[in-house]
């Protein structure tokens, strides 16, 4: 198996799915000849031409609105929003149109499309190149929301999203784009949506996380094992909606302690939903309060971005708090 980074894996998924299905069309700013500002669509314009890879005017509502029309027509558009921070002009089209099209038409129309967008901080991007907007979309009925943490999943989940009959928000943690490398299966490769993955087995505390924070939690877990004697199990959710409740419950029933970690702000973040659901379903298995290590409830800061992000120190402290409760 070849080794790739996430950008290469995304590119491989797009190329493979475009070869497999001629309804798959890419559109967005700079995605054509230039190959995207992160190079995720590099070489696709050359291989598939201007009718499959479209450079668009600079207007997110236009990109998503056009993609909805293409999906209604029967194509499989994969629009790119250059940064998740810039998705809001298209919010109305996503929340009021794409997500509701199937429901409001009684199943007569559908909007199969994948909105790819880089998210998250840690790249010195400040407010407007660092946001993690997943909660808005998880909160919106009618969308699937996916966030990979490694190249192999990036390829498999993106391929599955393109084949899915629903609108999918596909969030790519941009600080992993080139930092995360790993083996990626060649050719067609699909990772089923809605299935989490236990990326580290342990007995004392379960960490539920996704995206770039998976890597931070893995490092924190190693330190916690060596220095604090805490055995940590880590679940990478991969699909945030619909998320894999069974895998979480099996782990929670084993460990009895839960830590939820994500980059997005704490207030009404996805961790709040996970925590509430675990309280409903597993209260009597819990030996400590469910804790959250997340971004703070402030706009994403520039100078203090590494203090803002869930880091190793904050994670280890929370693990200790859970154990010592």
């Amino acid at each position: 198996m070849p080794t790739m980074n996430i950008i290469q894996a995304v590119n491989d998924a797009l190329r493979t799915e475009m070869r497999r299905d001629d309804r798959v069309v890419i559109l967005g700013q700079d995605v054509g000849k230039f190959g995207g500002v992160f190079r995720a669509t590099q070489g696709l314009f050359e291989e598939f031409g201007p009718n499959r890879v479209l450079d668009t005017p600079l207007a997110e509502a236009g990109i998503i609105g056009s993609a909805i029309g293409m999906a209604l027509y029967g194509l499989r558009p994969v629009p790119e929003i250059q940064f998740a921070d810039f998705i809001y002009p298209a919010f109305d089209q996503i929340v009021n149109e794409a997500s509701k099209m199937r429901y409001r038409s009684g199943g007569q129309y559908a909007c199969p499309m994948v909105i790819r967008t880089p998210c998250g901080g840690g790249i010195r991007g400040g407010h407007y190149h660092s946001q993690s907007p997943e909660a808005y979309f998880i909160h919106t009925p009618g969308l699937k929301v996916v966030m990979p943490s490694n190249p192999s999943d990036a390829k498999g989940l993106l391929s599955a999203s393109i084949r899915d009959d629903n609108p999918v928000i596909f969030l790519e943690p941009k600080r992993l784009y080139r930092a995360a490398r790993g083996e990626v299966p060649e050719g067609e490769y699909v990772v089923e949506l809605g299935k989490a993955k236990v990326v580290r087995e342990g007995d004392d505390v379960t960490i539920v996380t996704y995206g770039a924070v998976v890597h931070t939690t893995l490092q924190a877990a190693e330190k916690a094992a060596q220095e604090d004697g805490i055995s940590v199990e880590i679940i990478d959710l991969r699909t945030l909606l619909p998320y894999d409740i069974d895998t979480i419950l099996i782990s929670v029933m084993k460990t009895g302690r839960v830590l939820i970690a994500h980059e997005a702000a704490k207030m009404c973040g996805f961790g709040a939903e996970l925590s509430a659901t675990l309280n409903e379903k597993a209260l009597l298995h819990l030996q400590a309060p469910i804790l959250r290590v997340t971004g703070f409830d402030i706009p994403f800061p520039y100078t203090f971005e590494h203090e803002y992000l869930p880091n190793e120190k904050r994670l280890r402290k929370a693990l200790q708090d859970s154990i010592n409760f």
Binding site: G62, G69, E97, R104, G106, G142
Partner: protein, 366 residues
Amino acid sequence: MPEGLVRILRPDGKVEKGQKVPSINPKDLIHLYRVMLLNRRVDERMTTLQRQGRIGFYIGSVGEEAAIIGSAFALEEKDWIIPCYRELGAALLRGFSLFEFCCQLFGNAQDSIKGRQMPNHYASAKLRFGSISSPVGNQIPYATGIGLAARLRGTAEAVLVYFGEGATSEGDFHVAVNFAGVYKTPTIFLCRNNQWAISMPRELQTASKSIAIKAKAYGIEGVQVDGNDIFGVYSVTREAVDRARRGEGPTLIEAVTYRLGAHSTSDDPRAYRDDEEVEGWKEKDPLCRFKLYLMAEGHWGEEKDAYLEEEIKNEIQAALKKSERIGPPSIDTMFEDVLDRVPWHLKEQLEELRRVQELDAVQQEA
């Protein structure tokens, strides 16, 4: 596209000097008149129904029938219609049945959208008639997208999208027309300029001299037509459709018309506009104008008209009688079609609802 306001049929039913009536066979002319009259009578009947509390809401198109039906008539079956919420006439012309329409008003078990939206928000994929959403202007960008897809696939299908003059103030209008211009999509943007966006007059929407003139800035064709003249509307739309099929790109049509009724049953226009203005526009009524023409040409007569009125009345009554009896959809359908398959959390929520309902039933029995 011609400069200035296009008008073929004058308010008095006579043909404007130097203008030619488009070639439409008498059978189609009568059919167009029938659909216009049906549209008008349905609007009147359903407004009463709302007043009686039998439906929750109604939004009609009294006065705008020519703009809607004349433009839709310029399309073929393969073309798409992306409606706003006043295009019942276009749906009826396409073959949407009155029974289906009434089922949607009641949100009953036969409603093709399963009781999921308020009245007048129907959809028909088999007629290539879009799903209606309430937010103003939201449909315009995806009409561009459908046109773009058709162009990429190399078909000669056209897309006709409707919106009011209020929608032209929305960003979605701008992005949609801009994208359409850049990609030369086969999209016909039909603005029903009915002068009023609820209580906001046309002058408050834009300082532009007209809506049609906005086309120039996007590098596309624009034309202004008397929206109460069915021949004028049909002619300019037909030309726009032909251009679209030839790959010559989009057209912005401003159909100058007037909302003779309230915005919807939730509105009372007496609070913000003069009766005089309304009376003035009643003299330009698209239906009267067309009827006068048809009578003058010998295609129509008062006797036939009285018969048609009776036929339509009965048709509406029959559709209402049949649809009002039908009960609501099953509660399971409430959780379907959110995603293509019902995910675990929605299955749980359905179960939760069922348990409460069962409890209710048990308590009522006791």
